[in-house]
């Protein structure tokens, strides 16, 4: 039978297709934009500054000339230091200093510290919760728990951050006697709240996808339910759980609001996990609103953005690879 051309259907099909491609287009545009703003750093074009001439003072209005400020109020101008890409590997982050320093090490180490602590806490919690709901939980618990944990994922991170700033920081300081109230550890604990749902949902999916035949064979051979869960189901789902951890890492690395509020935002390069830290994402969050458009500082912030973009992009790609290829191949072979 010959297919009749239906204009209505054709239009609908095309517009749905268009919508799907628009999101793809957006990603590409964001990608291009972020990189385009960062690239002049390395081509040397960011250095072109208009020579500062003395522009004269602003007019004043409604002033009482008989009451000048007794202490001379100083106002210093930033020195212009030619930018070199090597400056990004310095040990100080002082972008609004008179001699700006754009070292990214303290920020990178700060991000890694918080992410590490968050994963250390959220990993086991998320994985074991997933193991429980996928293998042991009675139906009612399973149906109750999943949505609740997923609600946690939709919890506004600013609320988590606020909670950490006001409540959690004091509790942890009293508990462990930290020198600094806001520090990487406090930020990491708060971040764990945001990471648990991701680790949980992805591992839950992986564990639930383990073929029933494996579980049944194990039980038939006389293994207990615990033994089956720990030594058969969990190992079978390892690639999926690995992917869950990677996605959790990506979430923690890019999260802004929680770290901005709970980590103290001091760009310190120390090994201690209980010192305040400033993360890459929080730096963008705190400084982007103020920065002079087209300035070196502005471009460095975009470079940080590009860095975060690349990191999250590659982490997602790795996670996808583990789920698609390793996990599914393993189950098909089983």
């Amino acid at each position: 039978m010959k297919k009749r051309f239906r204009p209505g259907e054709f239009l609908i099909e095309r517009s749905i297709q268009g919508v799907a491609f628009i999101s793809l287009l957006f990603i590409c545009l964001i990608f291009v934009f972020v990189f385009r703003e960062a690239v002049p750093l390395f081509t040397g074009k960011a250095d072109v500054v208009t020579a500062h001439e003395e522009v004269g003072a602003a007019e004043t209005y409604g002033e009482d000339a008989s009451a000048p400020l007794p202490q001379a109020q100083q106002e210093l101008e930033q020195k212009h230091v030619p930018f070199r890409a090597a400056a990004l590997t310095a040990k100080d982050w002082q972008p609004v200093s008179l001699e700006p320093k754009y070292g990214l090490w303290p920020l990178l180490v700060g991000s890694l510290k918080v992410t590490f602590i968050a994963l250390l806490l959220a990993g086991p919690i998320g994985i074991f919760a997933a193991l429980y709901t996928s293998t042991f939980a009675p139906k009612w618990a399973r149906e109750g728990m999943k949505p609740v944990i997923e609600i946690l994922a939709g919890f506004p991170s600013v609320v988590v951050g606020f909670f950490a700033l006001v409540v959690l920081a004091s509790i942890l300081q009293n508990l462990f006697g930290f020198q600094y109230r806001l520090n990487a550890f406090t930020g990491g604990v708060a971040m764990a709240l945001a990471v648990v749902p991701i680790v949980y949902t992805v591992s839950e999916d992986a564990l639930a996808a383990v073929p029933k035949a494996l579980t049944e064979a194990s039980l038939a051979l006389g293994a207990t339910r615990w033994e089956t869960a720990l030594f058969i189901v969990l190992p079978a789902a390892t690639p999926g759980i690995f992917a869950a951890m990677i996605l959790g890492f990506g979430r923690a690395f890019g999260e802004t609001m929680i770290v901005l509020m709970a980590t103290g935002n001091a760009a310190l390069l120390t090994p201690s996990l209980t010192d305040p830290v400033r993360t890459l994402s929080a730096t963008i969050g705190a400084e982007m609103a103020e920065v002079v458009f087209g300035d070196i500082h502005y471009r460095v912030l975009f470079f940080i953005g590009a860095l975060l973009f690349i990191i999250s992009f590659s982490l997602n790609a790795i996670a996808e690879f583990f789920v698609r290829h390793r996990l599914m191949k393993r189950f098909k072979g089983a």
Partner: protein
């Protein structure tokens, strides 16, 4: 029918809102409470004017003024020549500066801290990281926890230029968004030190600088070393409703609000 009536009523009800002049004010977090009080008091007497006040920091406010996104910019530091240059490029005006209030930039200690005051040199050494322990300035043998403002703040820049004389802040300084956050942090931290406007002062005490406490007299006659003006910037000479508003702020009624909030009048 009914819906039409309702929407007509809504339209009529909304009309005064649209006919009112809107003045936008943006900038310094140090000044935001005062700016809100000014706006409330002014709007109570002038129902035909709507004044919208937002904070964000002096730098943010000045950027907004340069981008044309605000009518008035509050700033706790004078505009830099590079900023005046940008303004000149876009609006061929160097801006108009209104000194709207005076502030004694205060250094905060926790209530439990036995130290009463610091010299300017000690303050500089603490914030540049040369002094790290309270015992070096007459306190307990414990590490100093340094709090400051984020680098988009006018207070951050004023402090850098006038206390640190252009040197860098110690990198262990925890930067917090807004003076209220600094006060809150120092109030919760017995070893903390912070700085900010005089108007914020719950749960903390003000340090004497060079032996002088910030008060109405010492700020007024300028003997308090960290006295500064709080500015309002406009793109051009004020006209119309904006002029009326600025004149009111500089009038005794407006300056009374300044005192009530905890800052000091300009005159």
């Amino acid at each position: 029918m009914k819906i039409q009536k309702i929407s007509a009523a809504l339209l009529l009800g909304a009309l005064p809102l649209f006919s009112a002049t809107t003045i936008t004010v943006k900038g310094s977090d140090t000044m935001v409470i005062m700016a809100q009080r000014w706006a409330e008091a002014y709007m109570a007497d002038h129902t035909d004017v709507v004044i919208q006040v937002t904070g964000g920091g002096s730098g943010t406010g000045i950027s907004a003024l340069i981008n044309g996104a605000t009518d008035i910019c509050d700033a706790s530091r004078p505009m830099k020549s590079s900023e005046r240059e940008s303004l000149k490029m876009r609006f061929s005006s160097l801006g108009v500066e209104v000194k709207s209030a005076k502030d004694g930039l205060s250094v905060y200690f926790n209530d439990a801290n036995p130290v009463e005051g610091l010299t300017m040199a000690q303050l500089k050494d603490i914030y540049t990281g040369k002094i790290k322990n309270w015992k070096d300035v007459g306190g307990a043998d414990a590490k100093i926890v340094v709090y400051g403002r984020e680098n988009n703040s006018g207070t951050y820049v004023f402090f850098r230029d006038n206390v640190l004389k252009g040197e860098d802040y110690v990198s262990s300084m925890q930067s917090l968004p807004g003076t209220a956050a600094v006060v809150n942090a120092v109030a919760k931290d017995p070893l903390g030190i912070g700085y900010g406007g005089a108007a914020y002062g719950k749960g903390i005490k003000f340090a004497k600088i060079n032996g002088i406490a910030p008060s109405a007299e010492t700020v007024k006659d300028g003997t308090y070393p960290l006295t500064r003006y709080l500015y309002m910037y406009l793109r051009g000479r004020p006209t119309g409703e904006i002029k009326k508003y600025i004149d009111w702020i500089l009038s005794p009624a407006g300056q009374a609000v300044v005192t009530k909030v905890g800052y000091f009048p300009v005159k």
